[in-house]
Amino acid sequence: MSEIVKFTIDGKECQGKKGQLIVDAAADNGVYIPVLCHMRDLIPAGSCRICTTKVNGRYMAACTTPVDEGTVVENDTPELLDIRKAIVEMLFVEGNHFCPSCEKSGNCDLQALGYKYQMMAPRFPYAFERRELEASTPKIFLEKNRCIFCKRCVRVIKDDQGRSVFAFKGRGKTLQINIDKKLAANLSDEMAKKAMDICPVGAILRKEVGFVEPIGTKKYDHKPIGSDLKNIYQ
């Protein structure tokens, strides 16, 4: 049995398993640390940095840092909130996000964080990156403009031989999410739905079912992101 350790988040006494990731341990103790790329039980990606916290005085990604006896975590401080807001703004300006006609609106984690941090106009200039759409697979419409490179799809959506249906292509400024057309041709409806659900933005869309969910029934229509700690990491 793993060893139980005591740690604090913003002064609150918490308990977790030694080596458990801080985001997961925080959620188990009723404390919300925002995530975009993290999913429980997946190998951490640490790519989005929205979970930036101060751990024993140093900036750390809470999704890649384990808890230990006596760890001191700062989470809800004006400085960290502003850092997170800046990260959300960067993600918005880096892609081409147009919430008004996006079917993920209301279910989108990035949009929900924009509301949470009361983002108005981003402080950074828009990059207006030109990204192509990939519409040629039967079940998925890949809207590359909205990808935030969280790598969730790459890590989760695999065929029965364990091959990833999604993959990154390019580096730095030219990095794009891609879909393997051959593997995608055999994707089940269930996996297509899962891909759309785990994508924290509206980059992966299932074909032909857009807007079937009425306004008022979506994840963040009534409660802000972070209200339901059991389900935030799927």
Binding site: A135, G210, I215
Partner: protein, 483 residues
């Protein structure tokens, strides 16, 4: 010395435009033009998008009647997903959409009458512009102003309960609707708190209509003579000739009431309608192909609809329709300002339709969407508050829109608005050297009767205040007015 008068921007209409009036050496009106100076290009940037996004994306053209765009696009996509047109949907799908549409019609017509045009009727066309506005109405006729606000609110509530929110909802999806109306929602509309119930709405709509008729009886000469000119009229009508604002066949009549487009299927609209482009306006000029540019232009909107329809399928509005028709001995009505009268009959009709729909148990059923064999192309038409609205999409093998064509109501009314401006300018300005306030307002009243949405017409955004300039033959500004 020849002169040019510019009216820019025009007030109390949706959008932004200007009017120029050229006077010849004898100070007579030589030429008038309504220029639409906005440009957006929705037809281009919808290309490449997944087709199911069109009803939600394209409605962003407009904050005034987005529901019309939402539904016209959804109707076009019904064809694409193989659900057919009109009655191809499930009863719940079709009736929920109808409720959304008539709710929209109700709020838009109420807004136009109470907020945009009533200042002219209540306070006088020649009243000081400082009070001839909605604030002036609120101060002098608080009861009417309140009714206007609450009728609009009621219509917006219907939209929220059918589309998901009051502006830019997502209710209509290809092949149907994404929600039904719960019993609680239905009851809130049937017997809502205070005056917000359907019976009160029917009564107020009737009250507004009777008010206009009273005004008309007292000012008959002015109203009848304001801008009368013959034209063709076009709209959808139900297959049996009834007024139907949601679905039907395309009918056009000439000024004598002869059918010049005989109840054709609108999927083939491009066989009958063409659009002309002029260098001085971003707004196109549609006309009936077989009659040509000169003779084929037509009016759309409330006046046109009451001219093309044989009857109205609700009792109170039908009675009023008979009175309206009797005024022109059953022939088409070409009096521009009678558009207000026709609009108020439609307001009453919409309230009656809403009441019937709310009492229909089909709205509580769960069968919401129909799909069949996928098609590559689809056309959706609807009677928007301002007239016939065309949406046409073609998709590729990957479900992306590759072509979109939109002909919005105000575009259909482009030539009639130009004709009205010309008529009024000639009447008011021939021989005048200076622009007077009544002259400016007369031109605006002529445009306003069409309740134009210039933003939609060029698929643009903005509001439309008035700016008039008077030029001499050498292009020198003699007089300039800006509101």
């Amino acid at each position: 010395m020849a002169q040019k008068v510019t009216i820019e921007p025009v007030t109390r209409v949706e959008g932004h435009g200007k009017v120029t009036i050229h006077l010849d050496d004898n100070m007579n009106v030589a030429q008038t033009r309504l220029h639409i100076v906005e440009f957006r290009g929705f037809e281009r940037f919808v290309q490449g998008r997944p087709y199911w996004e069109a009803p939600v994306l394209v409605q962003r053209l407009c904050g005034i009647c987005p529901v019309s765009h939402h539904l016209a696009a959804a109707k076009a996509l019904d064809v694409i997903v193989g659900a057919g047109t009109g009655h191809g949907l499930t009863p719940t799908g079709e009736k929920m959409r109808r409720l959304m549409h008539y709710g929209q019609m109700f709020q838009s017509h109420a807004l136009h009458f109470f907020h945009l045009s009533s200042p002219d009727f209540l306070l006088g066309y020649d009243a000081d512009p400082a009070i001839r506005n909605v604030i002036g109405v609120a101060i002098n006729f608080p009861e009417l102003a309140t009714q206007g606000v609450l009728m609009r609110k009621y219509g917006q509530e219907i939209i929220a309960l059918t589309a998901g929110k009051k502006i830019h909802g997502t209710g209509a999806i290809p092949g149907g609707i994404n929600k039904n109306l719960t019993i609680a929602e239905r009851d809130s509309l049937l017997h809502g708190a205070g005056p917000l119930n359907i019976d009160q709405m029917v009564a107020w709509a009737d009250g507004a209509l009777q008010f206009f008729k009273g005004y008309y009886m007292k000012n008959r000469e002015f109203v009848d003579n304001f801008a009368y000119f013959p034209s063709n009229h076009l709209s959808l009508v139900r297959k049996d000739g009834a007024l139907d604002l949601y679905h039907g066949v395309l009918r056009a009549v000439d000024t004598n009431g002869n059918k010049i487009l005989n109840d054709v299927d609108y999927q083939d609209y491009f066989n009958y309608i063409e659009e002309d482009v002029k260098s001085w306006s971003y707004m196109k000029f549609p006309y009936l192909k077989h009659l040509g540019k000169e003779k084929g232009w037509y009016r759309v909107g409330p006046l046109a609809r009451l001219n093309t329809a044989d009857f109205i399928p609700t009792p109170m509005a039908q009675k009023e329709f008979e009175i309206f028709k009797a005024h022109t001995n059953g022939k088409p009505n070409n009096y521009c300002l009678h558009t207000h009268w026709a609009r108020l009959i439609e307001l009453l009709h919409s309230a009656e339709v809403i009441k019937d729909l709310l009492n229909d148990p089909d709205l509580q059923k769960d069968d919401l969407v129909v799909k069949g064999t996928k098609q590559k192309e689809g056309v959706g038409l609807i009677e928007a508050p301002r007239g016939t609205l065309f949406h046409h999409y073609r998709i590729n093998d990957n479900d992306q829109i590759e072509m979109a064509n939109l002909i919005v109501s105000t575009t259909n009314n482009n030539e009639p608005m130009n004709q009205s401006v010309n008529f009024v300018a000639k009447k008011m300005m021939n021989g005048q050297a200076q622009i007077t306030e009544p002259m400016k307002n007369a031109v605006e009243i002529a445009i306003r009767a069409y309740d134009p949405c210039l933003s939609c017409a060029t698929h643009a955004l903005g509001k439309m205040p008035l700016d008039i300039k008077l030029y001499n033959a050498t292009g020198e500004i003699l007089d300039h007015f800006k509101s």
